[in-house]
């Protein structure tokens, strides 16, 4: 793995980065962070200003109490002058109110910033997910891309929600407390400074230990999540094969691992937290000792001693929360590294820089010396040329792995050829404006995915602005209208979890209706009728005959019934066309297609 790079999502699962690689990854996430913050610059400055003022106001308290005791009280006692006392109390009230109001404002301001960052990040990852080519999605499993957008973004949300707030206000609080202490009494300030040394060691120790523990904890929780989701999505198979007991054991083990790591993490806090209190209290004692003697010899006022003790005691208050920040920081940093990796991925099928518009496509598709190999050098199409005149319906036949689906994916530009060009109306698909490409070429696959929402919504994906009449017309055209009408709420029926209530065949009909509604110049059907029953297939075929009359179509089907409506049949083997002709020509011949067709005829009844 040492030769592997860390560009994009590569090497994401590794944990043995070299220094150089870590630096590269860190740079990448920092750049991302910078670009997220850039549009918020003004708001960030305002927020910082608010938090600085509010913290200063909050820290002023003990010093004002000291003034009250050392100046206000003597003035009253000596000259019955209430002015200083009034002033100090007024100032105290003022700082208290300002501090509280500003902190409240800061809470809202920082929430606005973190939400703005989050929504920006969410949109970027979402858009990038949509932009990335199918090749990426086929290698990077859906579970991982989903967790980038859910659990990883949650980690960042947590950091932004509480972590940053606590760090910023905590740090400022400690800073201002330290400054106030120095201003009041330099010697106590030095004592406090001395306490920073054990504090540093304690925090270092905590950081080191927590770093590896938090990583373990994330791994353990990911395992729990994956197993959980897999069980819930595959619940039918779980039940049918009585996997429940075994699952419970396995899940119990995962939960226990997770619990164990969590317990260790908490244990760490069990040492860190009292450690902080210990350092704090010892420092208070020392400050008291050093201050006490000076009060006795008159070089320190009694009120100042009170303030010094209060400051010292309050100095460590934010530390525990700040240490928590380190956890959320770590998981957020890891999450940001992964997300920045996804965002860094270049789509292998990029949008053209200078897109060519094609307002009305005729549907003339041509392959010129196309070579195609998937990653890993398995050549699927060695050197492929094919001219599909506009309006022609082509059937692709051949055994699994002959390259039929690859051909379909090249036409629909799910992939780009390794060499050579695929053109539509003599425009290279790589230069064609995406909107025109997607309007002109539509592919229907066997896997008919339904989104949650109504049946009408699902058909309307073919043409979002379609009216209900258009939607119904499309459904009627493919023979889906009757079953949709018989659903509980007709076209408004919610298709539920992954189309649970709609049968596989019905799902395919809906996705056919989608394609009809989209009304493309080139239609690609990749095993699109596999789950249909025969009457539905018959209806679809009749519909296809009208639909395909004036448009280009590429049909891939294992079952030859669909092939019959084609103008031309291509038999493919190992990425090469071995037979090319009209169905009738090929059937009457002695080639591969004639054999296939005969076998298929025999299977009919």
């Amino acid at each position: 793995m040492s030769s592997a790079t860390v560009t994009g999502v590569e090497g994401e699962e590794r944990d043995d980065f070299t220094k150089q690689e870590s630096a590269q990854i860190r740079r990448r996430s920092l750049t991302l962070l910078g670009s997220l913050l850039a549009p918020l610059k003004l708001r960030v400055v305002l927020t910082m200003l608010v938090v600085v003022i509010s913290t200063a106001a909050q820290v002023a308290g003990p010093a004002l109490i000291a003034f009250g005791i050392d100046r206000g009280l003597p003035a009253v006692l000596d000259s019955n002058d209430w002015m200083p006392a009034f002033l100090i109390v007024g100032l105290y009230l003022f700082t208290g109110i300002v501090g509280a109001v500003l902190i409240a404002w800061y809470t809202v301001l920082s929430a606005r910033i973190s939400q703005a960052i989050l929504i920006d990040l969410r949109k970027r990852v979402f858009l990038q997910t949509q932009k990335l080519s199918l090749e990426f999605h086929e290698n990077y499993t859906s579970g991982r891309i989903i967790s980038r957008q859910t659990s990883d973004l949650d980690a960042i949300r947590e950091l932004l929600d509480s972590g940053i707030n606590q760090l910023v206000s905590g740090f400022l609080y400690m800073l201002f407390t330290g400054i106030a202490l120095f201003l009041l009494d330099g010697i106590s300030g030095l004592v406090l400074l001395g306490s920073l040394l054990p504090l540093y060691f304690l925090t270092r120790w905590f950081q080191k230990r927590s770093q590896s523990l938090f990583r373990q904890s994330r791994v353990a929780s990911a395992k729990v999540i994956v197993h959980f989701v897999e069980t819930m999505t595959g619940i039918r198979a779980v039940k049918a094969f009585r996997k429940e007991k075994r699952n419970e054991e396995h899940f119990g083990g995962l939960v226990e691992d997770y619990r164990g790591v969590n317990a260790k993490v908490i244990q760490l806090f069990g040492v860190f937290d009292p450690g902080l209190v210990f350092i704090g209290n010892v420092t208070v004692a020392i400050v008291l000792l050093v201050g006490g003697f000076r009060v006795v010899d008159g070089s320190l006022a009694i009120g100042a001693l009170l303030a010094v003790v209060l400051y010292t005691r309050r100095f460590y208050d934010p530390m525990e929360e700040m240490a928590m920040f380190y956890n959320s920081y770590q998981s957020a940093a890891a999450a940001l590294e992964k997300i920045s990796g996804v965002l860094e991925e270049k789509p292998t099928v990029p949008d053209p820089v200078q897109p060519i518009d094609l307002w009305a496509a005729r549907g003339h598709v041509r392959f010129d010396n196309v070579r195609f190999a998937y990653k890993g050098d398995t050549v699927v199409l060695p050197d492929f040329s094919l001219d599909i005149p506009a309006g022609q319906t082509i059937a692709l036949v051949g055994s699994t792995g002959a390259g039929k689906s690859t051909l379909a994916k090249l036409i629909s530009r799910f992939y780009d050829p390794t060499a050579g060009t695929v053109t539509l109306d003599d425009v290279d698909l790589r230069d064609l404006h995406p909107k025109d490409l997607r309007r002109a070429i539509v592919m229907v696959t066997q896997e008919a995915y339904l989104f949650s929402g109504s049946v009408a919504d699902n058909i309307a994906i073919g043409k979002p602005e379609a009216s209900l009449d258009e939607i119904q017309a499309a459904a009627r055209a493919v023979g889906a209208h009757t079953f949709i009408e018989s659903l509980p709420n007709g076209y408004d029926t919610d298709v539920n979890k992954r189309g649970g209530r709609v049968s596989a065949g019905q799902r395919q009909l809906i996705s056919f209706a989608r394609a009809f509604l989209a009304d493309p110049a080139v239609l690609i059907l990749d095993e699109a009728t596999a789950s249909l029953d025969i009457p539905s297939e018959r209806l679809v075929q009749e519909a296809l005959q009208t639909l395909l009359a004036d448009r280009t179509a590429v049909i891939i089907a294992h079952r030859l019934s669909t092939v019959a409506i084609a103008d031309r049949v291509l038999v493919m083997e190992h990425g090469i066309i071995v037979e090319d002709g009209t169905p009738a020509d090929l059937i009457s011949g002695t080639g591969r297609f004639a054999q296939l067709h005969a076998a298929w005829r025999d299977s009919l009844v």
Binding site: P62, V101, A104, S142, K239, F241, R242, I302, T582
Partner: protein
């Protein structure tokens, strides 16, 4: 495409419980942890008391040695402060130590029981609930409950006690100062209760919206091919955006609520301090209190600031936990409609006679007026018989296949196996006798071997017998391709492993059903994703297995029907014809309509002959015109 959470059922009675009653429901899980939690509270209280006693020493110091100038006494006082300070740290360590393990155990136990409950609940439940919604219950909600138990609850109780004791100490210094401080603390409590209502509603909404957003993400990934094929990435983004925006709105509302309580939590103590300072100066000038007492008052009040401020977030944590608890119990409270009978019958040696007797079924949410999906199905499969089930798409074939294994229960009539109502068998036994393969093949993140031998928990996975079963099943399902995978049958597949094509998954799912060697095999269109050649091979091999096994096979194709001894035709929720394929072809118009494409084919070929001639002409003309 937008999905709202309001279709997630919320049981009404939990939401009417008060926060306290609602949280009390955790008790059974937390019971064993309580002694240590109490000890933790004790330790925390100790820490609080020690912290409160430090000002007493300070007062003695200020009014004693510092005012008299007796510097030798300073050592004693400082020693006492140091000792108390160390003691405080020790108490805090003890608190941590006491509550550490029990909390994590409670969390783990709740997580396990949620999981096992979810596995137990029927498929109908899972149809209604998104896995994302369930996941957030299993992970973040339980995490929150744990943190509340070992941290929130302990501190809430202890800080309240500390505040009460601290208030007493404040009164001890001077009643007026104590009164001012306490009177100003009262609005915090009042606001806390106002805050409860506001915050818990927003928190719940934000959790739900986050769940919906996760669903939108999942769909955008799983449906990526559709979105790409139609170029609807932007459209999906708009939907996603609007959901993300509403979540953002809720989050900001939440931040405003938090800001509101922070305002009062910070403002009131500061106002109290200021007023106390003034009163203190006045009292001291009047000789009512000493400087040392004033000093100690502020030291004590400072110790009390954290407990008072913490009440705010402890309360909001408590309300969050209450929401989490409600969500947890929403699942646990769901009545399981498909359970094991009290005294399960047993079939020691199943023969495999499967009978549907006047079986009716309708989905719980189908509207009134719509007839039952299965409207009185009568069908008998004799032992060893292979029955093909044929019907139009959406006629209820898949639903019918889900009834024998009780993935759904009949809503009328009954299904019997060897004369025993399937509801009288334990689900475990029933599902051992009947194995299924689904059209939508699910593989788990495990090796190919484990996936195929899923139904054979009776076999030692390393035994030669297991190997033999595995190989036989793979051969029958024509799944030899697995031997070419990187680690052969040890290769991990499923979400965490290698991704396989639909046809490959389907063959493994079929192998799994075959390997289970059940008395009854139920196959829901198991060959739909296979190409013709493979399908023929699978069918030939399946024939051997089916010779001795009762089988119900949903069939779309004549080739699949050929596997069967008899065919049953499902039409309008009933079995309208049962018989041999050739008989039905002759006797049933509907059957012919559903299964036969021969006539069309012949018609089409005739037309083809004519078209071809015409097309050739056109093409030639085109060529010429070019």
């Amino acid at each position: 495409m937008a999905r709202q959470s309001n279709d997630t059922p919320v049981s009404n009675h939990t939401s009417t419980l008060g926060t306290f009653r609602s949280l009390l429901r955790i008790y059974p899980y937390a019971k064993s942890a309580l002694p240590r939690i109490y000890l933790g509270m004790g330790a925390a209280l100790g820490a609080g008391l020690v912290a409160l006693s430090i000002p007493l020493v300070l007062e003695a110091l200020v009014d004693g040695p510092l005012s008299t100038g007796d510097s030798s006494q300073i050592w004693w006082a400082v020693g006492a402060v140091l000792g108390l300070g160390v003691l405080e740290a020790v108490f805090i360590a003890l608190r941590r130590w006491f509550v550490l393990t029990p909390g994590t155990h409670v969390e783990a136990a709740m997580r396990n029981s949620l999981y096992s409950r979810l596995q137990d609940l029927p498929v109908a439940f899972h149809d209604r609930w998104q896995s994302g919604q369930l996941l957030s219950r299993a992970v973040s909600d339980l995490h929150l409950i744990r943190r509340w138990l070992s941290f929130g609850l302990v501190l809430l109780v202890v800080n309240t006690v500390t505040i009460v004791i601290g208030a007493a100490v404040l009164f001890y210094w001077h009643w007026l100062l104590g009164t001012i401080f306490l009177v100003l603390a009262v609005p915090i409590w009042v606001y806390g209760f106002v805050f409860e209502k506001k915050y818990s509603i927003i928190a719940r909404r934000s959790q739900d919206q986050a769940g919906d957003l996760a669903t939108a993400v999942e769909e955008s990934v799983h449906g990526i091919r559709v979105l790409k094929a139609f170029g609807r990435g932007k459209y999906a983004l708009r939907n996603f955006e609007s959901q993300a925006e509403s979540l953002r709105g809720t989050e900001i509302e939440k931040a405003k609520a938090i800001a509101g309580i922070w305002l009062w939590l910070l403002l009131l103590p500061d106002v109290a301090f200021a007023l106390c300072l003034f009163t203190g100066v006045w009292l001291a000038s009047a000789g009512e209190i000493t400087v040392g007492q004033l000093f100690a008052f502020f030291a004590t009040a400072t110790v009390l600031r954290f407990p008072i401020e913490s009440i705010g977030f402890l309360l909001s944590m408590t309300f969050d936990t209450r929401t989490a608890t409600d969500r947890f119990f929403e699942v646990l409270d769901t009545t399981n409609t498909i359970t094991d009978p009290e005294n399960p019958a047993t079939i020691p040696a199943p023969k495999g006679r499967l009978r549907f007797e006047d079986v009716r079924f309708r989905y719980a949410d189908s509207p009134e007026g719509v007839p039952d999906l299965l409207d009185g199905v009568d069908l008998t499969l004799e032992p060893g018989e292979t029955m093909a089930l044929v019907g139009l798409t959406g006629s209820g074939k898949s639903t019918l296949t889900a009834l024998p294994t009780r993935l759904y229960d009949v809503t009328g009539g009954r299904v019997t196996l060897d004369g025993v109502d399937v509801r009288n068998l334990s689900r475990e036994e029933l599902r051992r006798h009947i194995a299924m393969a689904f059209e939508d093949a699910t593989l788990f993140s495990a090796s190919v071997r484990d996936n195929v031998l899923l139904g054979r928990d009776d076999l030692d996975p390393t035994s030669p017998e297991a190997d033999a079963t595995l190989n036989e099943a793979l051969d029958i399902a024509q799944a030899g391709f697995v031997r070419d995978l990187p680690d052969g049958v040890g290769t991990t597949v499923g979400e965490e492993g290698l991704s396989l094509s639909g046809g490959q998954r389907q063959r493994l799912a079929l192998a799994r059903a075959v390997a289970a060697k059940p008395a009854v095999l139920v196959l829901d269109d198991p060959l739909s994703a296979l190409d013709v050649d493979t399908e023929a091979l699978v069918e030939a091999a399946l024939r051997r297995v089916l010779a001795s096994t009762t089988a119900l096979i949903v069939a779309h194709r004549p080739s699949t029907v050929m596997l069967a001894d008899r065919v049953a035709l499902l039409e309008n929720g009933r079995i309208t014809a049962v018989g041999r394929h050739s008989e039905l072809l002759a006797s049933s118009e509907h059957y012919k309509f559903v299964i036969s494409s021969l006539e069309d084919e012949e018609k089409r070929e005739a037309a083809e002959q004519i078209d071809r001639a015409l097309a050739d002409d056109t093409r030639e003309q085109e060529e010429v015109s070019k």
